[in-house]
């Protein structure tokens, strides 16, 4: 009787339905430069892995609101920093660094974290060191700290207090850097013996009068960083012990205009949006979402993309957008693609000609990551 129940075949042979197709599961192709990871928030959650050439979805990582995703430097893993309550909106809070195999999207490990800041649309609340050995998670509870995770041993190594500062940039020489409310940059060694601030504490911007956008550009390998202020001042810096920040220059001046003002009533072209800058490292080209407006309009979506030669401090091109854009990213190869997002719609554009290649709806509206950025 039991056998008959276990197998409907023996129970009633005539009723058996033979199956001519087997169900299987796809794996992802190896990481390639035109692959994009797009993390949705709000109404469309999940991180979609998109092939920039075909415009097709290759797979989805399960991520919730306020999740941060990073690509391992060697392309083997996707790292997810996430916070989940055991009962959805209640129960026990679980802060996790979840490690996914980058081909199968299976969970390889889940590392418990002592916390993380809950905020959306920020790149620098989670970073991986250039050698892939450490993950850095910014925490605020509301005291500020950076949690250092040893990715080889898969456990939390230590917590670095960064009072008055926030965010985490992976710098050169085993350091992390943070931006501080007093307008300084703080660089600290990730080794416990180097926990002193290693930078000259020179304020270089005003957090009240012309803040620098949290979403800046930093290369974990070289420590080269680009900061951008609300008014359009560009600060270049090297994130390493003893290094300072270069004198800023104006994006608007680089486009042949007067520098923008921070005063009321004055209208300028200003940077704005969420993920509002992208950087093509090999050519030193910065892409900035710009809009016309008064100061304190720093979240307004971009109406133009300004293409900036950072070394020569020159705006090479101003591209007018057919529809506003809140998020921008650029692939790091020598036939680069621009990824533009507005309200869950992704548009893929040739970064040299601005020709539209593909578009995709309902993919989410959040931070975009590309390999090698």
């Amino acid at each position: 009787m039991l056998a008959a129940v276990i197998s409907p075949v023996t129970l009633q042979a005539e009723s058996v339905v033979p199956q001519i197709e087997e169900s299987d599961v796809a794996t992802l192709p190896p990481l390639s430069p035109h692959m994009l990871l797009l993390t949705g928030d709000g109404s469309i959650k999940g991180t979609r892995i998109i092939d920039g050439d075909s415009g097709k979805i290759l797979g989805t990582i399960h991520t919730q609101d306020l999740t941060n995703v990073r690509i391992a430097p060697d392309g083997a893993f996707f790292y997810v920093a996430e916070t989940i309550w055991t009962r959805g909106n209640r129960g026990v809070r679980q802060d996790l660094l979840t490690i996914y195999d980058a081909r199968t999207l299976k969970i390889v490990d889940e590392i418990d974290l002592p916390g993380r800041l809950l905020v959306g649309n920020r790149r620098q609340t989670f970073e991986i060191s250039a050698d892939g050995r450490h993950a850095f998670i910014y925490n605020m509870d509301p005291a500020s700290s950076v949690i250092v995770v040893d990715l080889a041993r898969r456990k939390v190594a230590r917590t670095i207090e960064i009072p008055g500062c926030a965010l985490v940039f992976a710098g050169a020489a085993a350091t992390i850097s943070s931006l501080c409310g007093d307008g300084t940059l703080s660089t600290i060694g990730i080794d416990a013996r180097q926990s002193q601030d290693l930078t000259p504490a020179q304020p270089f911007f005003s957090a009240e009068d012309d803040p620098i956008f949290d979403n800046s550009i930093a290369d974990p390998k070289s420590g080269k960083a680009i900061f951008l202020s609300y008014s359009g001042l560009v600060y270049t810096a090297t994130l390493a012990p003893g290094q300072g920040v270069d004198a800023p220059w104006s994006l608007q001046q680089a486009a042949g205009m007067s520098p923008a003002s921070t005063r009321p009533l004055e209208v300028s072209w200003l940077p704005g949006g969420r993920q509002l800058i992208a950087y093509h490292r090999a050519t030193g080209t910065l892409y900035v979402l710009m809009h016309m407006g008064e100061f304190w309009s720093h979240k307004e979506d971009g109406k133009e993309i300004w293409v900036v030669d950072v070394a020569n401090r020159k705006v090479l091109r101003r591209h007018r957008l057919a529809e506003p854009v809140s998020h921008i990213q650029v692939s790091q190869d020598d036939a680069p693609l621009l990824f533009l997002n507005i309200e869950n719609k992704l548009v893929i554009v040739d970064a040299k000609t601005f020709e539209e290649k593909k578009s995709l709806d309902n993919v989410g509206n959040g931070m975009m990551m590309v390999p090698g950025e």
């Binding site: 075949v9 033979p18 001519i20 197709e21 290759l58 989805t60 199968t104 999207l105 309902n362």
Partner: protein, 180 residues
């Protein structure tokens, strides 16, 4: 390809079994057998009455307009009773789950007519589970779709019984055999 000589029996089967032994134990075991089997067996299914007549006069609205070229569109012939996101738009395919998801060993079933040969085929709509809603290519076709008391013909149920996670991601349309 074997032909299908089934008749509606799944609930009747359950009911008759239930009469002969402890219902709970029996059904729990039956459930476990159905979900655990590696070869993805189907619940025994009924040959839909509507599948008998293959003339244009016998076709549903869906079947009259179905195509066989593009499996990322809701009017692809196998999708006559699918509800949800097409896995073909999510990194999977007609019988392939996207990376990181798991095909459900159980499924609901449709009887769809292939416009190329006019033949009715049994289709198993196997959900891919474990990752939240893909959200692409949402379809809701309802040919011969019944209600929950006839679960294997209902497309609203989350058919993720027997997978590690019951989170619904997308639906595949696995070709099972000829329905005649």
């Amino acid at each position: 390809m074997d032909k299908i000589r089934t008749d509606a029996l799944s609930e009747r089967l359950l009911r008759s079994l239930a009469g002969r032994t402890s219902r709970r134990g029996m059904l729990a075991r039956l459930g476990a057998a159905l979900v655990a089997a590696p070869a993805f067996p189907l619940l025994p299914v009924s040959r839909a009455e509507a599948a008998k007549d293959r003339t244009a006069q016998g076709l549903t609205d869906f079947a009259r307009h179905a195509q066989s070229k593009d499996d990322t569109n809701c009017d692809y012939w196998r999708y006559c009773a699918i509800d949800g996101s097409l896995c073909s738009c999510c990194g999977g395919g007609l019988h392939t789950c996207p990376p990181g998801t798991e095909p459900s060993p159980t499924s609901w079933v449709g009887t769809c007519i292939n416009p190329d040969d006019g033949v009715a085929y049994l289709i198993a709509y196997r959900d891919c589970c474990g990752t939240a809603m893909c959200g692409q290519c949402g379809c809701d076709n309802t040919d011969r779709e019944s209600q929950i008391y006839r679960p294997q013909a209902n497309n609203d149920i989350y058919w993720c019984f027997g997978t590690a996670s019951m989170e619904y991601h997308c639906s595949t349309a696995v070709l099972v055999g000829v329905a005649q």
